[in-house]
């Protein structure tokens, strides 16, 4: 049984999805989906434990040995990302029953869980597999499910947002597929380990560079790197609140994982630099993304949209970490991947609680909420402080490593810009704080109660995660450090 964990990780949510369709009642479907989600989370915990104690796991699907068969390969990096995705996925599912009750009609809720589980399975599959074509398959599964999830938003503009993402996502996926095709024609293999062994021999060829370029651009579309981020704000704003919490904490993280995996494990460290100054491109795009997205976030009247733009900015930080190109830089990226999932998960779940009570995430809805929904607002404040990078939160840990990496590499201007960027976060977070705590709720409106426990508990679990991993960062920092060391081959 334990030998089959790598495949169970993906198969459980994948099979649970159609099973959910058979359960006609919303509540039953929710219970079933949540059970599947928790099982997935348990599996990823076990996988991490196994990898930590006995090294990378290779699983031959159907008993066909790699490189002929499809290999599932779990190393420290994938176990780490699986943990993030399945953890957030399960936690958001726990909150989902209450969270979607006011946004999706009850009759359609079983379908919601079907798409949710499919999306989860796709995301986990991308991370678990060691076969590059399999990556494409799972990418499509998760993307199609994501379009459907977004389209379930109450606002009719959700359809448009989903359509927009569909177009962009398809372009991205096609680019990736073209890249994979080129690689296959060059090497005759789709297995990542095998590819990595064969690529150096043909590293000088134009086809290899072209493949690399297609793949990088395609993945950057999926991870919403500035200026390829235009699909993200609409998608996050108009999707049901619960979906936003799930996507913001997982989907872009998986794309970042994919970029790291392809750049460092498949193509290898030196490959990109021999063709084009990718590090410099990442540094510049990452920083411009931080500033442009933060400045736009400051002006948003809709809080969901505000934090969506903040997500684009935070992705910028992860890309900057990759652009630094050192062990500490990559460690910072991986840490922020984990930490940002905690922050945005907590923030968007809290926004879901506000939307549950007020049916809106417009800034005007937040007036006086500091009194009316103290626990929800406290969660937003702590999540916001974490975004800023205040000590004792996870944001500080990310920022510490990122700035340390830039200083070690002698990139002083980058360090300065990173810190200036976090000051912009103060501005947009404080806009929400001031409205919630200094403005009164207009007289005559219905009294607002604190959010129900079903939403508060998952939100606060994530908030506590923000504080716990901010105070005891040893676990994540060591994990990210070892994963980065395995990728970049340098001593810490």
């Amino acid at each position: 049984m334990l030998n089959h964990l790598p495949i169970l990780q993906v198969v459980i949510p994948l099979l649970a999805a159609p099973a959910c369709m058979l359960l006609d009642r919303a509540r039953l479907a929710w219970l079933f989906a949540t059970a599947a989600g928790l099982a997935t989370f348990a599996i990823s915990c076990l996988l991490l434990y196994q990898v930590q104690h006995s090294g990378p796991i290779s699983y031959a699907l159907g008993g066909w040995e790699a490189p002929w068969g499809i290999e599932y390969r779990i190393d420290l990096l994938s176990a780490y990302v699986l943990l993030v995705v399945s953890g957030i996925g399960a936690l958001v599912l726990v909150a989902a029953n209450t969270g979607v009750s006011r946004e999706i009609p009850e009759a359609k809720q079983p379908l919601f869980y079907v798409t949710y589980l499919l999306c989860l399975a796709g995301l986990l599959g991308i991370v678990a597999t060691g076969d590059i074509f399999n990556v494409f398959v799972f990418l499509e599964i998760s993307s199609l499910a994501t379009y459907a999830l977004i389209a379930q938003g109450k606002n009719r503009r959700a359809l448009w947002a989903a359509y927009q993402y569909l177009i962009v996502g398809t372009i991205g996926a096609t680019f990736i597929l073209i890249g994979i095709g080129f690689l296959y024609s060059l090497t005759g293999t789709l297995n990542m380990v095998d590819l990595a062994a064969r690529l150096p021999a043909i590293a000088g060829s134009h086809t290899a560079y072209t493949a690399f370029a297609f793949i990088v651009v395609g993945v950057c579309l999926k991870l919403a790197l500035f200026p390829l981020h235009l699909w993200l704000p609409n998608a996050y704003t108009y999707a049901p609140s619960i979906v936003t919490a799930f996507l913001a904490a997982t989907a872009t993280k998986v794309a970042v994982y994919l970029l790291i995996r392809l750049q460092f494990s498949v193509f290898g460290e030196g490959f990109a630099e021999s063709a084009l100054p990718l590090d410099a491109i990442f540094l510049v795009l990452g920083l411009v993304g931080v500033f442009v997205a933060s400045l736009v976030a400051i002006q948003q009247p809709n809080i969901k949209r505000l934090f969506a733009y903040s997500s684009v900015a935070q992705i910028g930080y992860m890309i900057v970490g990759m652009g630094v190109g050192t062990h500490t830089g990559l460690q910072a990226t991986l840490l922020h991947l984990f930490n940002h999932a905690l922050m945005k998960g907590a923030l968007f779940l809290a926004l879901a609680a506000v939307a549950y009570r007020l049916g809106s995430s417009d800034i005007k809805a937040f007036r006086g909420l500091g009194r009316a929904m103290p626990l929800t607002m406290a969660a937003i404040v702590i999540g916001g402080l974490s975004l800023i990078g205040v000590p004792l939160t996870v944001g500080f840990v990310s920022k510490w490593y990122l700035v340390l990496a830039t200083i070690q590499a002698g990139l002083w201007p980058v360090a300065v810009l990173i810190l200036l960027g976090s000051l912009l976060a103060v501005v947009y977070v404080w806009r929400v704080v001031e409205v919630a705590y200094f403005q009164q709720r207009p007289a005559g409106l219905a009294v607002v109660k604190e959010a129900p426990l079903a939403l508060l508990v998952p939100t606060w679990l994530l908030v506590i995660g923000n504080l716990y991993f901010g105070v005891q960062a040893g676990f994540t920092a060591d994990l990210a450090g070892s994963a980065a060391a395995a990728l970049i081959g340098g001593a810490p």
Binding site: L385, I388, G389, V390, P391, L392, V397, K399, W400, V403, L404, I407, Q408, A415, V416, L419, L420, S422, L423, V426, W430, E434, Y437, F438, V471, Q472, A473, G474, A477, D478, G481
Partner: protein, 491 residues
């Protein structure tokens, strides 16, 4: 009590205010019980901190490591003389201030008093963390906690004006700490592989020339709480807070946390020897000297009493920075002493300003004609506080000024000496007229008929005024701690 181990005492010093804070929240519906909780935790904190003093004076450096924040980065506390001095001052003035707060907050029917006392307690815990911090990261963590926990106090009134002031407060303090202090700490970490406070400094010769001074200035301006111009604007802005907040936080805990950090970093991170002779290190001296004089000139032109006190605070804070920048052991002693004596004097002045407001609702200096005869105790205490600011015996302010001046002469820093002389004159020019108005001018008609403020407030301010005199006559513990620091600064 004496059997308390020093490690436990450090942990208790951090925990007691927080436990008190929890108690305050729980007893929020019963004001008398709530205020009881505040006073009991304040007194308990004082007792705990007091047990540490003899040990530090005996040369021990008790330490405790709580946990590891990141691999290699510990939250660690070490008690050395300077931290002991700061902790003693804060712990000593918290119960006094609480007594005063009860009179003030009830006298003015302020809203949300539970929230007020709660965040006050958290801020004290943060001040303890800063005082006992054993490395730069621990200092930074509690520095930020102090900023955030005082934000709800500054914006207590919840008005538009309070919100705007809160923006300035948070904006400047967060911007300087994240924009300058944090990179300075990470840079130090990168250079030395450590951030531990060590007598004689840790920088050594890992950095030279202009870069050394750049790092120094990043630290000094990064510590926005020390209010060196131009990062001083938050301090006058914070005056919208209720007076007890201005008194304890903006005369004692917050600003002293700032200059304490300045002094600590100069002595324990750089080391006087490393800095002495570094090209361009005079820049800090110029910045501090400019702030002392400029703040005094601005204070001269303020009619609002609290704003004048705020600018006076900015000037007095830069005395401490000046004492550090002179880079002489004697001036460091004076600077450390100034942390304590300025706290006593300034808290008296703020208490008096708040008492005047509570009794008469007067906030402007021009309204204070003849008030000395209506509120003799308050204005008597105000006079003692003012004398301490100017540095006239028998007020304690004389002591610290004496040592800073001695240090300036010893080091041959004539510019610093000139700054001290000019600023003393300016201090006299903006404090003495208030006393003249209060005691020698006749009251204008039409005012409210009033006497002294509520008793707890008057008791508190007389007590601190009395202490200002006592410390001059018997400098005892503060002086010994300061001279221990002087010895560590020049090993």
């Amino acid at each position: 009590m004496m059997s308390l181990s020093p490690q436990l005492a450090i942990v208790l010093a951090l925990a007691l205010p927080l436990v008190g804070g929890a108690g305050i929240l729980l007893s929020g519906r019963r004001p008398n019980l709530r205020e009881g909780v505040t006073l009991v935790s304040a007194l308990a904190l004082l007792a705990v901190v007091a047990t540490l003093v003899p040990q530090v004076l005996a040369g021990e450096r008790p330490q405790v490591t709580l946990f590891e924040l990141l691999p290699g980065l510990e939250i660690r506390f070490v008690v050395e003389p300077l931290g002991m001095l700061f902790a003693t001052v804060a712990a000593f003035l918290w119960p006094v201030n609480s007594l005063y707060s009860i009179g003030y907050m009830r006298g003015n029917n302020e809203q949300h008093q539970t929230r007020f006392y709660f965040f006050f307690a958290v801020a004290i815990a943060a001040a303890m963390g800063i005082a006992f911090a054993g490395n730069l990261v621990t200092l930074f963590v509690f520095y930020e906690v102090l900023t955030l926990s005082t934000y709800p106090l500054v914006t207590h009134k919840g008005s538009e004006q309070a919100m705007g002031a809160g923006r300035t407060y948070l904006g400047i303090l967060i911007a300087t700490s994240i924009g300058l202090l944090l990179p300075a700490i990470i840079w130090t970490w990168h250079l030395t592989g450590s951030g531990d406070f060590t007598p004689g400094g840790i920088i050594g010769d890992s950095l030279e020339g202009p870069l050394l001074v750049l790092l120094l200035l990043m630290f000094m301006f990064g510590i926005g709480k020390a209010a060196i111009m131009p990062v001083h604007r938050w301090l006058p802005a914070a005056m919208v807070a209720p007076t007890p907040v201005s008194a304890l936080l903006h005369a004692v805990a917050v600003v002293k946390a700032g200059v304490f950090s300045v002094l600590k970093i100069v002595v324990y991170v750089f080391g006087l020897d490393t800095l002495r002779g570094a090209p361009g290190v005079e820049l800090l001296l110029y910045a501090a000297g400019f702030t002392v004089v400029a703040a005094s000139v601005v204070a001269l032109r303020q009619d609002n009493l609290k704003r004048r006190l705020a600018y006076s605070t900015i000037g007095q804070l830069s005395y401490v920075v000046l004492g550090a920048a002179i880079l002489a052991p004697l001036s460091v002693v004076g600077a450390a002493l100034h942390v304590a004596v300025h706290a006593l004097g300034k808290i008296t002045l703020f208490f008096a300003a708040g008492a005047i407001y509570t009794a008469s609702k007067k906030t402007e200096i021009s309204q204070l004609d003849g008030i000395g005869w209506r509120m003799p105790w308050t204005m008597g205490a105000f006079a003692i506080g003012a004398l301490s600011m100017i540095g006239v015996p028998p007020a304690a302010g004389f002591l610290s000024k004496w040592y800073i001046t001695m240090g300036a002469i010893q080091a041959g820093e004539w510019l610093a000496l000139g700054v001290i002389v000019i600023s003393t004159l300016l201090n006299a020019a903006y404090f003495l007229p208030i006393l003249y108005q209060a005691f020698f001018k006749a009251e204008q008609g039409g005012g409210k008929d009033h006497g002294e403020a509520p008793l707890p407030a008057v008791v508190a301010l007389c007590f601190t005024a009395l202490l200002t005199l006592v410390v001059f006559l018997f400098p005892g513990v503060p002086f010994e701690l300061a001279s221990h620091l002087g010895a560590e600064a020049q090993p």
